[in-house]
Amino acid sequence: MSTTQDRKHLRVLLIDDDPAEHILLQRKLKKASETSIELDYVGDIGGAVDIVKAGGVDMVFLDNRLVPNNDFRETAPQLREAGFIGPIGIISSDISGKYFEEFRDYGVDFKIGKDEIDATVISFIVAEYTRDQLSDTCSEDYL
């Protein structure tokens, strides 16, 4: 919501071992009418790595605990090692663990509780993580 750029079509990848979360998020995304979002879904980190390697994913919503992995500290770096440079958001029913304080050290951009997600949150996330933070005068002009 803090952007001047035109809304664009976004491809978001949800990585969650519970397929019901895919349906729930799909419903919430439909209410975020300000944004056109295509939601892809995969249930494990191995499959997710293959998808991001194939390209075309703009943003990842990553469930904190993917069976059989431990938590995002084990999974998020795998996406970065695969060359994914889009935003990664950790979604979890419980983000109170102290280790969440270190999320940026693992290449994660943001964290959010599943019960906090609604249409206005999705609109903010899209606006925040797709906006041009650097002015035209700061394009990669020195190259």
Binding site: M1, G89, T120, F124, C138, D141
Partner: protein, 229 residues
Amino acid sequence: MLVTETALHLGSELERAVNRMDFFRLFKSLAGSNGFSYFGITEIGGEEHGLNFQHVHALHNFPVAWFADPKEQVIGTADPVAQYLQKASAPHLMDIRQASSDVLLSSGADSAVIVPLHAATGKRYGLIMVGGDASEDHRALALIALDAALIFQRYFEVILSLDSISGLSDREIQIVRWTSEGKTSAEIAIILGLSEHTVNSYIAAVLRKLHVVNRAQMVASAIRSGLIA
């Protein structure tokens, strides 16, 4: 108005907030805990300026359709909310139907809570909450103002104060150094295992700290200052 002791913004999340997304969540929680669906916070500019919700430090969940120009996202100087924030220092429950605030009336609500906030640097900010059933309750208004001040103080410490700190963090120096090597943001993101958005966030922060406008100036300034060899 209801303030629950279990509200997210009153718990450990306040101490753990580290980026704009976290503060969006905290202010949204404050609004939600008090029965409001929408909130917006932004810097109060000069009298000739309205309230710009595209400001680099603005946070809000107002639907863009509320604004006369969805791309500019400004509450104009003539709007009673902007006028109140220009002159006031106390929290206020405003009857937006009587005062006729064009932007906030889009919420369908009759009233809004407006909380002026002050950064340690002297800059003034305004928090607006709307989209709920606000009532004339001094105690509730005081609690909202207190919670808003606590979140804003943390927002200042973590985000706003960075603009006035002259030194660069280790991560910022790392990114300036890679930029001086000719790496693009995308390349630096891959090297450091970050998102391109995060890299650009660091670069934007460095530009503000060094008072420069592009990458070439940033590198030159960092070399002159001895920040990088």
